[in-house]
Each structure stands twice: as C-alpha cells, then as structure tokens.
Symmetry: C2
Subunit: 226 residues, 2 copies
Amino acid sequence: MHNNFSTPPASSTSIRPARGRPREFDRQAALAAATRLFWIKGYEATSIADLTETMGIGTKSLYAAFGSKDELYAEALKYYYTTYEGLVWTRFRKAATAREAALAFLQDSAIAMTGGDLDLPHGCMATLATVGSEGHSELGELMRATRAGGFDILKARFDRAKSDGDLEATADTTKLARFVQTVQSGMAIRARDGADRDELHAVAEIALSGWDHITGNIDHRMQGKA
Amino acid sequence: MHNNFSTPPASSTSIRPARGRPREFDRQAALAAATRLFWIKGYEATSIADLTETMGIGTKSLYAAFGSKDELYAEALKYYYTTYEGLVWTRFRKAATAREAALAFLQDSAIAMTGGDLDLPHGCMATLATVGSEGHSELGELMRATRAGGFDILKARFDRAKSDGDLEATADTTKLARFVQTVQSGMAIRARDGADRDELHAVAEIALSGWDHITGNIDHRMQGKA
DNA sequence: TCCTTTATGCAGTGATCGATGCATAAATCG
DNA sequence: CGATTTATGCATCGATCACTGCATAAAGGA
C-alpha cells in the first residue's frame, strides 16, 4: 500500500527521499518480485505502479532494466518456467514407467499449484494467463507456446513408453497426453479458486486410477482384478 | 466490427448521425451482444467503447439500461448461464446412471466449448474469468459462485446414484464431482487454446473410461501399480 | 580530487479508462 | 397541434494507463 519512505530506517545518515543514486538494485530479486505479481494478478491487471512498488525500484530503473511491460512479462514468464519447472518435472523424468511419470507430474503439480514448500502463488502462471492476452498477440503466442511445451514433454514420454514396452503399441499417446494436460489445466483453475492440496491430489489419483483400462493394458495385465 | 449505421437501410428519411431519439433499442439483443463480448475478451479487457460499438447503442443508453460496467457484467453472466445452461446439463439430467450423466456432461461440454450448434465463443465464460477479477471482489465472488454451482449439481447427482444403487456406498462423491469439474475446467482452457471438438471428446472419453475402477476403489486407496 | 557514468525520484506525456452533463429530436399523450 | 417524456450523439470529466524527460547525487576511473 505505502512505499518504504513512510517509515525510514532512522539510523540512516540521510533520510533518502533524496534525488541521487541510492544503490544498485538486485535485478534478479526485482524480476522474482515482478514474476510473483504477474503470477497473482495476471498481465492486464498488473500496472507499472504495482510493479515498481513491489519491485522496490523506480519507473525509470524498470524501463532501463527491462525495456517495457511486455518485455518484463516475457522475462518473468521465462523466469517462472526455469525456476519452477523442476517442481513439476523432476520426478516425472525419473519415473520408470509412463504411468508413474504421469502420476508424478499430476501429483507434483498438485503440490506446486498449492504453494509448494515455499509460499508460491496458487495455480499455474502460464495456464491462468489464457484470458486477457487479447490485443497482445506476441505475448499470447508466448504463453501458448509455454503451455504447449507441457504437452510435448508428456507425449514424448508416452511415445518412449511404447518403445520400452510399458505402453501398448495401440495406445493413442496424443490423446493420452492431451488428457493429462487437460487435467493439469483444470487443477490450475481449481487451485486459483481455493482448492487445497488434498483435493488436487485426489483429482490426480482419480485421473490415473483407470490408467490400465485407458491405455489398453487392462486386457493383458488386469485380468484378475478385485 | 462495425455498427449498423455503416450501411443504413437506404429507405430511411434521414441518414441518422442525427442527434435525437432514433429508435428504442432491443435490451435483450444488446445484452446478448455484451455477453458474447465479455465471454470472448473477459471483463478487464472489454472497454465501454468496445461494448457500445458491439451493442450498437450509445454510452448514455448503456448506463441508463444497465447501471455500470460491473452490473452489466453480472447481468451478462446471468444471461450466459440461463441461456446456455441447457447445452451442458440437459442430457445430464435425463441420464439413467451417474456414469452416463457424467459422460453426457463432459461430452456436451466438449460440444458447447467448441461453439455448439451455433457460433458460440469457445470455452466457458465463467471458468475463463478466473483471473482478472482482482480488485472486483463482488464480481469475483459471483464468478466463483457460478463455477461452484457445477460442482453442487454433479455431487447431488452422484449422491442420488448411491441411493439408486448404481454407485458403491463407499464411493467418495465429493472427490468424484471435483474430478469431473476439474476435467471440465481443463477443457475450457484447452478450448480457448484452440482445441477442437474431437480432442475434447477424447478427453471426456478417457476421463471416464476407468469409471468402474474409479468408483469401486476410491476409498481404500489404489493398490495397483504394475 | 575532478570528471564521467549511471541509477534514481519526480513530474508530466498523450492515450484511454469508466462514467456523466447537455442539447437534440423522435415518440407519446392531451 | 402543443407539451412532455425519453433515448440519443457528442463532448468532456477526473483517474489511471504505459511510458519518458530532467535534475540530482552516488559510484568508479583518472
């Protein structure tokens, strides 16, 4: 609400509504703060005034360091992805089977989307930015590409599973990947609406509980089911 | 894009950039047009200028008829729901079993979210309005309530299925309803991202293909890793 | 120490936001 | 026909949007 000048550190030699050059700001920290704000409020609803306040820098410094609001958002989205990508894909990559990979992806998404171990904003920044990108076609395309990346990774893993033999050759990996991606997108909406971690974990579990039936493995591996 | 004044009916006596009272506008038609615009662009990104152009009325008339942008959006959301609710819930209500109901809901959602029989905007107006409602807490609550309504309907149907006997008494209807709701929310995201009807139909099919497995095992944790 | 560089706070740019006052003229009624 | 009502287009309001010019003063090199 207020800036930091309302309660100055008192021990400071100069009270610092001063004009000159106070201190070089931490670009990464400022970017992290901007990312968090964009993540919470979305692109359109976040104003430059909001950003400068949160980032703790002046308007001029923001433009000198990041160019424009669009460029800052693009960089924030990249920062978001590179910083938090591991939360969702690490266990996925280590998983032995396609099913375990998909389950790990959805489970870890459930955790990440409800704040993770840290105090992260809820929901997925890229997914929730779907609306409000009208008139910013360049950014819209960037967001779309970011979301599409998830599908590609899922499909590639499922395709590999066919070679590995833990997915039937008849399985439709495109549809499978689309399904998992769709569930994760829905989880982002639910998380933003206040869903807690348990709820999202339950969704992940239910989504894949019929895996063998979905993929066709049921004919060969689930014969004697209770 | 253009209003109807660009090509006047030619038989008109005056060419009508006139000052006075031209004709009483159709309130319902104007509301329908506003709804469509909000649906496509979202609340924040839709300006009063956009609305007056699309609705074919002047600024003063808009405020006289609808009060404010907030009130217009609220009325548009209500119009949206009452007008298109049947597209998604009609077959659901007629379905004999919980599974058929859920499948009908997701299948008809797939159709509605890709334009239906008419040329509707893709995706769900209420779902996609998740972000951008910051600072408009009243509208945000309205949207949230609209989304929550879907869950209530699903859960009530599943609860009834327990009495009917087509769902196990041990089935967790809350988790089940959350899962279906989550899949539908994800479909809205996918639809806005360009997913076609076939893709969403496939998602609906996959989501419920493991139904018997899901509903039978939901309480006593899943046992089945291969 | 002096000079250049550089990041800053502040004021202000034109544009657009949601919303409103006003004169006008079609519709309505006596 | 004449008086009243009413919906309109237009101009404009203050606020806020993304963004920039300017004077200032700390940091860094000589």
